[in-house]
Symmetry: C2
Subunit: 707 residues, 2 copies
């Protein structure tokens, strides 16, 4: 409304301004209402919580990084291929160009990532698994590792199928680093406890994003990350993982469309297996055999891998190299690997000119290789892009495709294990996946050879589809090495092919049953070798875990503080033990009750006043009683991600239980009783807890052999 | 070896026997080795644990039951169809044959199941969800419900699409009953605690079997049952669910092959959507709109359903009917439903002659309905079995397929809600699934009408596939009604069609975001209406839940027993309160510490001796401190499935917290702060805890409105 006020020039001016403003904005009521509406929408959007935006940004960001990295790796790989072709027919030059390129790449990757931070080495999944159980690994998720890992990983992957490494594990690590960094930016207002809670939720989502943005598979991304990383899972974290993983997978495939690689959003390793008659019932038998073969090979692989990892650390020469000259070690190993895969040499027997992705595309091929007739050998030509040309790589004039596949499996077995000892950022899932696909393809081709006219059921002849066996093999081998079942779904999502899902699950279950009984998973094995803090699984059927009570294995010598104690006493306590937190008793009497705990923090050592005045004292949430069973204590540690819990009897502090105590028992029991009972009931044998006092150790050993 | 002993006739005979035995069994060494081998295999197989056998039997058994039930229902349905055709063209007879059959079936179902046990009514999922949180519902899983539920469910489903009910929920209940029964048979030797633990593991697996053996979908069966039933999940229970569900799904589809329904193992609602170009990028926008529509409709559905469920219980007439004459109520409701679906009447506008499975097959159809031209109306003919004949049911001479679809959606909305009030064994998932598919089909056909020539992207024209929208609609609507995301995978597994997975997940996420913000899920809603004990979810972002401590809301008046107390004192305590267990103090002083608990059991009331001598006293595992926050306490209750936990301060018993206290707070907070924040953060408003004392209630109300 207009309020003309009579007055001087100034007021008139003001009035003119008002008028002109009003002339620009008609319908004040409608505008006000609109503004109200917008306010409401804005408020609604923000009330939904920032989680949505956060997860969206995380998913999209990781997808873009994944895609850009793929693009860069492809370019680098093309450069290598070009170089190898341009060099001409001089064998020495060819050899040099074939070996030097991956050596330079891998050595640079090692040197660069090691020089910035040693945390960027490896896949990172064992460490993440440890972090998710509540252990704090300082700096492991710091953003400064990010650059080192991205650059290192790109170089590692650009070295190509010679080094035979993947990107899944490292990408999960990258994704969690980004999530923690983004989380730090927004959670400055939140309280500490809430923050910790939230961070865990976000870590779970970030892991799902990591898997999803590599394979473009949202559902199995979530499931795989849950299976591999966690022991317990809250259903309310579910949607976070799904939302972020969907954003990631969507963006990842969308970028492929924008880049004109694909016409529309489709599966990443799209396969065109026949779906009108995928498999005959009789073939389920062969799928079960495939599962058993994969399970046994996975056992052998895991055993050899752990053995080699330990051997490399113990051998004087390699240990010295790894301690001081990591790039030299890398260069030597890659030289060996590259020499073996040199195409005019042994490489021609193992299709070594294919990239990791091309390996998968050929192995998941719809055709039956045994029935195809290869062209004349054309090793000099570059491998062409069409499926026929790619398949030609598997053919060799003097060996059948059975020969090349078997040779590939034989050589890659130890080359793959050797590659896992390289101190550079890499993922170890993809090579296992490819290896499994090759196992499946070999068995599938054999079945197709046994039934050249197909399997007859109800009058009609149905040809065998070896591609289906390759799917099942990839899922079964990778699933049993990582102790996970969701690889069955991963294979379906990555190929967009669902009709083989039942035999694939069958093979995965059989393989898992065998491997989980005899070997810890790839990641648990690495945790054991790296001696990370870790809570072993307990066999739920074992009676002793119900009979042993906390009193029998708790640590009795707990350093406690009294509420009124001064600086001297606190200092003495800090000197006596290296605990991260101390129980605070109500009075100095030994029979007094702990009501709270003080954290070991620098600001706690002020020289004046008492403990109660100066230090951060938090109330204790839970206390155990001495009659709690080992099984219950283990369950609590696992569920609540505890580090240490105090034991009280009639309100008197009598001891404490930390992971070391629970672990000591678990390990002892496993040793006493031998084999397990199937999934989840094996105790993965941990390294002996050297810190436990002798008395306790003896008790544990007695417990280990119950009558 | 032969030991010839000189002696009488008898010894010679013996020798001869020995010789003849040996002549029958050559190569004693090889045999001994073989026998040793077999022993070893046997031992190995049994050492793997009986779990495998148990789960295998469970899966196979449920699949057989599911298949037999399907077969029987099909026969009964065929009989109804035949009757309806044979009756001729007399409208009255037609009407009677159309309405009487479902009325008889549904009334018998109600009467039979009610007369045996009232527990067999409904889907059973809300009760199972409550049981999984640790509440003991007596007799709910007793095997005597089994027969009643199987017979009742068969009759309900034989009433066909008139009543519009499904079998998923009931089948989950059946599966858990079988699992508990099988479990009882084998766990006689185990200890109680272990047994309880094991039973929970088996329940989770059984639920997965229930879903998997209905849809033949192993992976999504496991995921859906987790999402719907549990709040936390142990990864080690995973393989059990997968193994049992795979056995169930495999057997279920295998039986279909043996019965010559299918040529080989294939998806249950196999669809042949075009997979070379499933959808254009622009279409993701329409999929998001579809998700929003499904979410809004799901909100309306859930609200109306709860309202009607309460209204039917409160209305004098219906309440009286439901209390005394349940079959009469069923008969009246089914008469109304059948009259509306009568094909010559309104039924012709809603394709009422199709079965539930045929509804799904037509809605997931590959063709675009708007482009097809129907034959002349043939309402008199029975619907033929080919897709074209089935589709004809959706056509009406005076209404387009848009008209029939819209009418179907409008009428089925309230008919579906009305059907859920019927007191008979039934599942409520399938109708929601079909309804969602119809929403999707309608929107898909609309999009296809808007872009009759397809959507142009990069030069090429790509036609719209309305079947893909039907998939997304089914997943989004059923997912948002049940608050689950795994329906996206369920739809893919049930149709064997994976290429639409990304837009389907998108729609499901959008729909879930809307519904979870405004309404409790279908099962939670039923729990609220049925007043089952239940722990509401807590909003993880709400600050107050971190600030409120146990001291402020715990129950202070705890009836405790002293260890030396005699019969009189125990009797007095039992009279004073109705607690299920009592803390046992070390001495009679009030400041004494509780070390153990006595269970309220009949053998505890022996008239001589003290409590310590006669009663079952168990040690207390955990104690809370008064400074534990509400959030932490809630977390503990949820994780450990606690019913009640005692609070001690300096070793002195000061109170107890049970679900009622935690729930009271949760509800109060929700009322104070309004809307939630997305998945998992809403507090589903519970019924007010009338048992809480006034003082406590006031405290809760104060907490509900923090400054």
């Amino acid at each position: 409304m207009k309020h003309p006020v009579p007055g001087g020039l100034r007021e008139e001016e003001e009035e003119r301004v008002l008028v002109s403003e009003q002339s620009w904005r008609p319908c004040p009521k409608a505008r006000r209402r609109l503004r109200g509406c917008l306010e409401w929408v804005k408020q609604q959007l923000f009330r939904v919580g920032e989680d949505w935006y956060f997860l969206f940004i995380l998913g999209v960001l990781m997808a873009i990084i994944s895609f850009m990295m793929d693009l860069l790796i492809f370019r680098l790989y093309e450069a290598h291929r070009w170089l190898y072709q341009e060099v001409g027919d001089v064998l020495v030059l060819k050899y040099l160009s074939w070996t030097m390129y991956p050596i330079v790449m891998a050595t640079f990757s090692t040197g660069f990532s090691q020089s910035i931070t040693p945390h960027s080495v490896g896949s990172g999944i064992p460490e993440l698994k440890t972090i998710l159980t509540g252990v704090v690994l300082e700096d492991y998720l710091a953003i400064k590792n990010f650059g080192a890992k991205v650059v290192g990983l790109t170089c590692t992957l650009a070295a190509g199928s010679t080094v035979f490494l993947g990107k899944v594990g490292s990408f999960v690590h990258l994704s969690t680093m980004v999530a923690v960094y983004l989380g730090k930016m927004r959670t400055s207002v939140m309280k500490e406890y809430e923050n910790k809670f939230k961070q865990n939720e976000m870590l779970v989502a970030a892991q799902a994003v990591g898997v999803a943005s590599v394979f473009g598979a949202p559902i199995s991304g979530v499931l795989f990350s849950i299976e591999v990383m966690s022991s317990h899972f809250a259903v309310r974290d579910y949607w976070r993982g799904f939302f972020a993983a969907t954003c990631g997978a969507f963006m990842f495939r969308l970028l492929a469309v924008f880049n004109s690689e694909q016409e529309t959003i489709a599966a990443i390793f799209k396969s065109d297996l026949k779906i009108d008659f995928p498999f005959d019932l009789l073939e389920t038998f062969f799928f079960a055999i495939l599962g058993a073969v994969c399970g046994l090979l996975a056992c052998a692989y895991l055993f050899c891998q752990r053995w080699l990892l330990a051997a490399v650390r113990e051998n004087r020469l390699t240990a010295k190299l790894l301690a001081t000259d990591k790039p030299v070690y890398t260069a030597l190993v890659v030289l060996l690997l590259a020499s073996i895969t040199f195409p005019p040499g042994l490489g021609q027997l193992m299709a070594s000119r294919l990239t990791m992705k091309e390996y998968l595309i050929t192995l998941f091929d719809n055709r039956t290789w045994g029935l195809l007739v290869p062209n004349a050998s054309s090793l000099a030509d570059p491998p062409s892009k069409d499926p026929w040309g790619l398949w030609q790589e598997w053919c060799h004039p003097s060996a059948t495709i059975f020969g090349t596949l078997a040779f590939f499996l034989m050589m890659k077995f130890w080359m793959l294990i050797l590659a896992t000892t390289l101190p550079l950022p890499a993922g170890y899932f993809m090579p296992i996946f490819v290896y499994g696909a090759a196992i499946g393809r070999l068995l599938g081709e054999t079945v197709a050879l046994l039934f050249p006219e197909g399997i007859r059921s109800e009058g009609a002849l149905h040809p065998v589809v070896p591609g289906g066996y390759a799917l099942a093999g990839a899922a079964a081998f990778s699933g049993s090495v990582t102790h996970s079942i969701s690889t069955a779904l991963l294979v379906c999502e990555a190929t967009g092919h669902l009709s083989h899902v039942l035999p694939v699950i069958l093979a995965v279950l059989v393989a898992n049953a065998i491997t989980q009984k005899h070997q810890p998973s790839f990641y648990d094995g690495t945790i054991i070798v790296k001696k990370l803090p870790y809570l072993p699984r307990i066999r739920s059927r074992h009676m002793a875990s119900y009979q042993v009570v906390v009193e029998e294995f708790m640590e009795r010598r707990v350093v406690a503080l009294a509420k009124g104690s001064g600086f001297e006493e606190v200092l003495a306590a800090l000197d006596t033990s290296a605990d991260a937190e101390y129980p605070v008793l109500e009075s100095a009497e030994p029979s007094s009750s702990p009501s709270s705990r003080a954290t070991r923090a620098p600001y706690c050592t002020q020289k004046t006043g008492t403990l109660g005045d100066n230090c951060a004292i938090e109330p204790i949430m839970l206390q155990l009683s001495p009659w709690t069973s080992l099984h219950q204590a283990h369950h609590l540690f696992e569920l609540l991600r505890l580090q240490r819990i105090f034991v009280t009897r009639f309100g008197e502090l009598v001891g404490a239980v930390s992971r070391a105590e629970v672990r000591g028992d678990g390990g002892g029991q496993a040793g006493g009783t031998g084999g397990g009972q199937g999934r989840g009931n094996n105790v993965d044998k941990p390294h002996p807890t050297s810190s436990a006092p002798l008395q306790l150790r003896r008790a544990i050993e007695e417990l280990a052999n119950p009558k």
